[in-house]
């Protein structure tokens, strides 16, 4: 068996064994059905919910908002990171904020956002965007710091201006670092949007989970949590796959 296959097998086992143990624990009554239904019944429940189509609109709405927050944060984060890298004094000013940023309870601003932007999608996208943005900025700065001076000199020898140097030399060089930020942005977008929906909204996956939670409806709540897990793991695996392909081509050195 090849190394890659063996790792894939171990990864599968690392998920399968705890799930199996959970299934057993639920079935023998170690975990009460009111606390958590069996994993198999979560899967059955999820299939039923998806087949009935009654919350497909909510799923689509949430995924669209997550995607919006993710794309906005990735684009704005790389652009702001590239600008900050050139503006050293501003960067020094903001760096303490970046390192403590994730201690700020972004959700505390959510009621304010609702007041300003209304109860539509905008406040939720904004929360996801704000959570994801700084991870992208920080990894962009790290990536740009790692660019060797000789490549910047080479860009000057090729008579490239600042924008060309950024888009054709420094950002491509920093791509593996950017990818780290983009992967974090995907996770933060999910957390931000669904969390906001959970706190206060009238539709979306987070709202449906909250609704089931308030009604002690485990047969809906757990399958929906499972759905979020499956979607976010799929997104992460896809990004990871691209990341690995990118790194493999550039050699293991970085």
């Amino acid at each position: 068996m090849s190394r890659a296959r063996r790792i894939a097998l171990y990864q599968a086992l690392a998920v399968a064994i705890p799930v199996l143990l959970l299934e057993v624990a639920c079935r023998v009554g170690l975990i009460q059905p009111l606390t958590m239904p069996t994993p198999s019944s979560m899967v059955v429940g999820l299939v039923e919910i998806l087949a009935s189509g009654r919350i497909n609109a909510a799923i689509l709405k949430t995924l669209a908002n997550v995607a919006a927050a993710f794309v906005l944060a990735s684009v704005a984060g790389v652009a702001l990171g590239a600008l900050l890298h050139r503006a050293a004094p501003v960067r020094r000013l903001l760096e303490p904020l970046f390192s403590t940023y994730y201690a700020i309870p972004i959700y505390a601003f959510y009621p304010l956002f609702i007041v300003v932007f209304g109860l539509g999608d905008a406040p939720q996208v904004l929360i996801g965007f704000m959570l994801a943005l700084v991870a992208v900025i920080v990894s962009t700065l790290n990536g740009l710091d790692s660019v060797p001076r000789v490549l910047i000199k080479t860009a000057r020898v090729c008579r490239m201006n600042a924008v060309q140097t950024a888009t054709q030399v420094t950002l491509p060089y920093a791509a593996p670092h950017l990818f780290t930020g983009v992967k974090l942005a995907a996770a933060y977008s999910f957390i931000g949007v669904i969390g906001a929906e959970f706190i206060m909204s009238q539709s979306g996956l987070g709202y449906e989970i909250r609704f089931a939670f308030d009604n002690l409806d485990n047969q809906v709540m757990y399958p929906l949590i499972l759905l979020i897990l499956v979607v976010s793991v799929t997104v992460n695996f896809t990004l990871d796959h691209w990341d690995k392909a990118l790194r493999a081509r550039r050699g293991a050195a970085r």
């Binding site: 060797p148 080479t154 020898v157 008579r159 030399v169 491509p172 081509r249 050699g251």
Partner: protein, 263 residues
């Protein structure tokens, strides 16, 4: 006598530091003849790389003028100048062919001409089998060939080499020296080579300038007198020993100076 290809007059370079101004280089007066192979040797820290960066337009002189083909060099790299650095300057995300044509593709050169020059450079630098390879798959010597090829395809009239073989082993250096001589003969470009290796300078150059320790000034310029069709085999010529001996005679005291009073 023909006008010099590169001309430096009263060039100095002063770096501001926390302990006041550091006089790094000069005053330097230097003329490069069109089509000659010129080498600069000097003790470490004497400012020879700074000299090259000023001709390349990468670092402005603090005083004095630098001219290339009769025009003053400002803060931009002049048209017709190619630079090869000591460090690996390959772009890791591009394959060899795309690395070589990187500079060329932003010049107004037709597509089939780009392909023709790429093919020529791949052939001349022995990279034909590696056109689709990525830099991470290549040895240090091969990567430096890619960087030389990238300069070559823009057809520069002046090629500046900043210790291009500094990171390579001795055998590779000698062979790369032969390739450099071939390239020089094939292109007719003026070549300025900065190096700390006396034998490299003595073998490759028509003239070798010896620089003093900091602040670096040109002590003497030695004519090697080799024929244009020389190759690395001249290292066994008795005259070669005489040239390197003369260079070391000039450089020894300077190198001791550069090491400081403790040495």
């Amino acid at each position: 006598m023909a006008a010099p290809h590169v001309s430096m007059r009263g060039v100095t370079r002063v770096f501001p530091t926390q302990k006041g101004a550091l006089h790094a280089l000069g005053p330097v007066d230097l003329d490069l003849r069109k089509g000659e192979f010129f080498a600069v040797v000097g003790p470490s820290g004497c400012g020879k790389s700074t000299l090259l960066e000023m001709i390349a337009g990468l670092a402005p002189p603090s005083a004095g003028t630098v001219e290339f083909e009769g025009r003053a060099i400002g803060s931009d790299v002049p048209d017709g100048v190619g630079v090869v650095f000591q460090e690996n300057a390959c772009f890791p995300w591009l394959n060899v062919a795309d690395n070589i044509t990187f500079g060329l593709r932003r010049l107004p050169v037709a597509k089939d001409e780009v392909a023709r020059r790429l093919d020529y450079a791949l052939g001349l630098m022995g990279l034909r089998d590696f056109a689709a390879a990525y830099p991470a798959q290549l040895s240090g010597g091969m990567r430096q060939r890619v960087c030389i090829a990238r300069t070559l395809v823009t057809q520069p009239r002046l090629i500046l080499l900043d210790e291009p073989f500094g990171a390579l082993d001795q055998q590779t250096r000698l062979l790369m020296g032969d390739e450099l001589l071939n390239l020089w003969r094939a292109t007719g470009a003026t070549v300025l080579l900065i190096t700390h290796a006396l034998d490299e300078a003595a073998m490759l150059a028509d003239r070798v300038a010896v620089m003093s320790s900091r602040p670096g000034c040109i002590l003497e310029i030695i004519e090697t007198g080799w024929s244009a069709d020389r190759d690395s085999r001249i290292v066994s010529d008795p005259a070669f020993g005489a040239v390197t001996g003369k260079l070391w005679g000039l450089l020894r005291d300077q190198s001791l100076n550069a090491l400081g009073p403790a040495a």
